[in-house]
Every structure is written in C-alpha cells, then in structure tokens.
Amino acid sequence: MIGFDIVGFIISWLTLFGIYAILSLTLNMESGVSGVTNFGKVVFYGIGAYISATLTTYLILMLNGVDIVENPPYNINGVILLGELGSKNPVLNIGLFILSVFLSFIVAGFVGYLLSYPILRVGPEFVGFTLLSTGELLRIFLLHFEPVGASKGLMAIPNPLGWIPDSRVRETLYLIVILAFLALTYTVMKRLLNSPLGRTLKSVRDDETAALCMGKHVPKIKALVLFIGSGFTGVAGTLLSYYFTSVNPNMFVPSVTFNAWAMIILGGMGNLTGSLLGAALITLVDRLLTFITPLLGITVISPDYVRWIIIGLLIVVVLIVNPRGILPEKPIKTPALQQVEEELKK
C-alpha cells in the first residue's frame, strides 16, 4: 500500500459523509418520521447545486467586468476566465457562498412546498412515483438547457475558500464548514422531532385519518415538512457543488436518492442518530471502494456495478430481516411522560 494518503482519505470521507448525512437526516424527517415517501430527494439536491453554481459563476464573471454574452461561464473561455478570476477576492467568494446557501434553501424549499400540492390527496405509492419522475424531468431539463451548460454542466465553480493557497488547509476548513452545516441540520431536526410538531408528524405517519380527526391540518403539515426538508437538501446541494467545483446533469440521477434511502433504512427509520450512522457506514464503503478500485486494475465486472447491486439488496434484506434498522426508533420523552413514569414508580 504505497502512497495511500490516510489523511486525504479521512478528509474526503468526512466531507462526503457531511453532505450525505444532511440528505439522510432530512429524508428521515420526511419519510421516516412523517411518512412522505420522498423518492425525489435528488430534485432538491440538484436545484440547490445548480442554483449556487449558476449564481456564483455568472456573478463572478459579471462583477469582474466580463461580458457574459460573449464569454458565458459554460464555454471554454468562460471556464478559463473563471479559473483566473475565481479566487482573487476572498470577501466576494464568501459573500457569494452565503448568498447561494440562502437562495438554494428558499428556492428548493419553495419547490418542495409546491410539489406537496399534487401529492397530498394520494397515497405513498403515488407520492413516491411523482417525486421520482420530477427528478428525471429536472435532469432532462438541465441536459437541454443551454444557460446552465446543457450536458457539459458548469465547471470551475470558485470554492468560497479558494483563496487559501495550501490545498490541505483549504480542504480541512471546507470540511469544518460542511460539518457545521451538518450540526445545524441535526439540531434543527432534533428540535423539530422533539416538539409537538414532531409528535403530530408521527401521528400523520401512523394514521393519517386519525390525525385528521384529531383536528390536525394534515395538508399544511406535510407541506411544511417538505419545505423544511427540501430547503436543507438544497443547502446540501450547494455544499456539493462547491466541493466538486463542477456540476453536470448526470450527477443528479435517481441513484442519489436511493443512496440516501439505503442510509436511513440501514440506520433505522425515525431515528436521527441512525441516519448519521447509516450515512457514515455507506459513505465509508463508498470511499474505500474509490480508493481500492484503481488497485484492482481492469476487471471484467466493474466494482461500481457490484456496489449498486449490494445497495439495492441491502435495502431489501434489511427490510425483510430487521425493518427497524440498526438503531430502532425510540419513544419521545416528553416532560408529561416522565412525570407519569415517576408517578408510576412510586
């Protein structure tokens, strides 16, 4: 094992873990806790990534006085100019980063809110399929929409920390940014889950009719959950686009959604810590395979295919053998419940 860069490996694993953990946490909130079978995670992820990519590349060129009609960021001149101008002004880079995080949260959340309208009145089967097909349509749209680079996508997106000369320091700092966002997402989701709203969500998942009869406005609640979940997914997309510094339509295939599903099913649906664990395990295997694949040389069967077969079978096997996952869902400890338990002990 000559040249196995252990620090680089850990940094790249944690970065990927941070992004995917945001996906799996929000998916768990939507699907594991409130029963919206979201098969279209990739829609909001893609929207977030493309918004930040488009915004950053266009604005950097415009603010540096480049004529974007002649040198749009998706052609070769634009890419070269972006490479030259991209990391000159730290304030601009960080400002654009914050702006894109906000915008992608709002836009992805709003799209999620709108998409909740057609799917409110139908069961989980239809919800899942509608969102899944939305993802494919988004991809087809991006593949043919010239201003965002069509099938080539956008390249040379300036990283907000691109002005730091040393790449290891830059990667570590960006990792800290990602983990901070992950911590924020986890806190928000945890607070939501432990609030009265969280318990309403669980009641909607377990029995929609009963929740409706108890006077809960189920459509409004589902729309709200999709807004919050999709917003955070959009932020994850933003983080992804700055990490890879390029986006193209083929990054946003339904497989991304399935990856997140495998994580929450493995970790345990309805348990937020479980999603973190699932994300950590699956991204670790992912990264290990990426590091090992070149060592195997040319094989008849690509290890990538085997990986996907394993992910698919993992979902099926876990659902059959242990549907509650590694960390099963726990009842929420409310103050009232604790008081009752104490009274019972006496």
């Binding site: 029963g35 079978t37 098969f39 309208y117 057609p118 799917i119 409110l120 009145r121 139908v122 069961g123 989980p124 089967e125 239809f126 919800v127 899942g128 399929f129 509608t130 097909s133 939305t134 494919e136 349509l137 087809i140 749209f141 593949l143 043919h144 929609e208 009719t209 409706l212 006077g215 406005h217 189920v218 459509p219 409004k220 497989s255 399935f258 599903w261 495998a262 099913i265 008849v300 069967i301 690509s302 295919y305 085997v306 996907w308 077969i309 992910i311 698919g312 079978l313 993992l314 979902i315 099926v316 659902l319 059959i320 549907p323």
Partner: protein, 318 residues
Amino acid sequence: MIPGFTQTMVNFLQYIFFYTVFSLPLTLSYRTTKVINFVHANFITYGAYTAVFLHGVLGNSSIVIAAFLAFVIVGGMAVLDNLLVFTQLQKRGSSPAMVMISSMGLWIAYRYLLYVLTDIMHFYTSKNFVSYGRITYSDIPSISLAEFNLSQAFIASMVATILVVSSLYLILEKTRMGRAMRAISDNATLAEISGIPRNLVINLTWFLCGGITAVGGVLWTSFSGAITPEAGDSMILQVFTIGFIGGLASLLRTSIGAIIIAFMENIGIAFLNTYLGVPVSFRPFLTFIALLTTLILFPPLGAGGGLPYRFRKRGLSQ
C-alpha cells in the same frame, strides 16, 4: 398540416401498441396484489435483453422464440420477487410504503445486475451489448399498404397487442382463474374465505404480468435503434402515468390512458415543435403535466390509501 404527418401518425399508433402492452400488466398486478412495482421497468429491460442475448450470443432471429423465452424467464423472475420479497414483507405486516421501497431496492439491484451480465457477455463475445442495434427478425412478414411500407416493429407489435388484449379479456372474463383474480382484486379476504387459493392466484398474476411486459420488451428490440440497459427506466414515467390515468384499477381506462399519452407524445409535441418551437426532447414534460393533472383533478381515491382532501375556503382546521 405539420411536416412528416404520416410518419407521426404511424409512430402514434406504434406507441399506442407499446404503451398498452407495457401498462396493462402494471394495472393488473397492482389491483390484484396491491404492490406498486418499480421492478416493472426491469421487466421491460430484461424482456428486451432476453431477445438481445439470444440474438447476439446464440444467433437467434425468430421473434416467436424470443418472446416465448422472455415470457417464461421474466414471468419466473416476477414470481421469485413475489415469493422471496413481497410475500415475506406482507407476512411481517409491513406497510404498502415499505413494500414499495423494497421493490425500489430490487429495481436498483436488477438494473446493475443487467450491466454485470452485459459486461460478462461482452467479455465472451466482444460485442457491444450496452447499446445494441435494432434486431431484424426473420419471421415477421413484410406488408405494404398502398405505397406505404409497414415496419417489422409495427406489424409485430400490432399482432402482439391484439393478442395480449384479447387473451387478457378472455382470461379475466371467461375463465375460473380470471374470476378468482378479479375477486381478489375486489376484496382479498372475502375471496380467501370463499375458497380461492390466494397465493396461487397471486403468483399466477405475477407470472402473467411479468411475461406480458417482457413480450413488450422483445417488441421494443425490433423498434428501438439503440437498446440500452436503461430502456425500461426511460419509459417508466409514461407507463406509470398511464397506469395512474387508469387509477391502477381499470384496464379499460388504462388503455385509454395509453392512447392519450401516445397522442401527447407524438402528435402533441409535433404541433408544439412546429408552431411554438418547443424542442422534441422536452416530450416527457407533456407526460408529466398529464401526471400532475391526473393527480390534482382525478386523484385515484383510495387506490393508494390517500385521503380525499378538498381545498375549500374554509379550511379543515375550522
């Protein structure tokens, strides 16, 4: 009049045939087994690849043999899925959403398994199976109407559609098996009480549905210029939308849905392209609009366990 009108009309008819063969089994399987089956996409692809491997590896050029083998293989695949996964989950009392998620897991596994198979076959024959050209079959007669030559795909799929529709009608209306299937789709518990062997009937339904879809896949090989392991996945939007138009319950309405979607995707987009300059590749958006319209205006009530919300001025909370 739009340019290429005759060709558009022929394609319109052609797609009606394909969509009917693809989506009737989806509706039938959902209403009998209550499993929304994403593996349906794999049924199409595996049907097509049965024909491709028979042609590329064994040199078969008979569509009858290919269709028969595809029917048996994919039908068996569907029964295996049911026995190993869906029945196990339902026995454990999993919710329909969980069964759907498991079918999604199977979908991924099958899809990449096919890539592995194409890789292995490529290793042995060094032919490109990831994008396989149109197959010319030797046992389809060539017919020309007036000055117009009908393609092989058109003749084969027309015959197959007529066969599928009429045999489904005969099975469902005239045989004991069909009556049992209809009884189970109406009320499974009552059907079981009155002595219908439920598991047997459900397995037979899966066999039939998988088989018919696979025949559709074989027909696709005589039409499509490039058969890829994602052939079925790229059609899943249309097929499911057609199923939803039929409410996943009525076979007649599913057939009407096939005509509507085929119309929008061929004649509708041709009009939009000619008069408004909409690119032809945006064709799936029309289907998606049809899907949203179906869900908003005619929500398939009860079919997926949804609640009949109505948005009135006075909200539900009052």
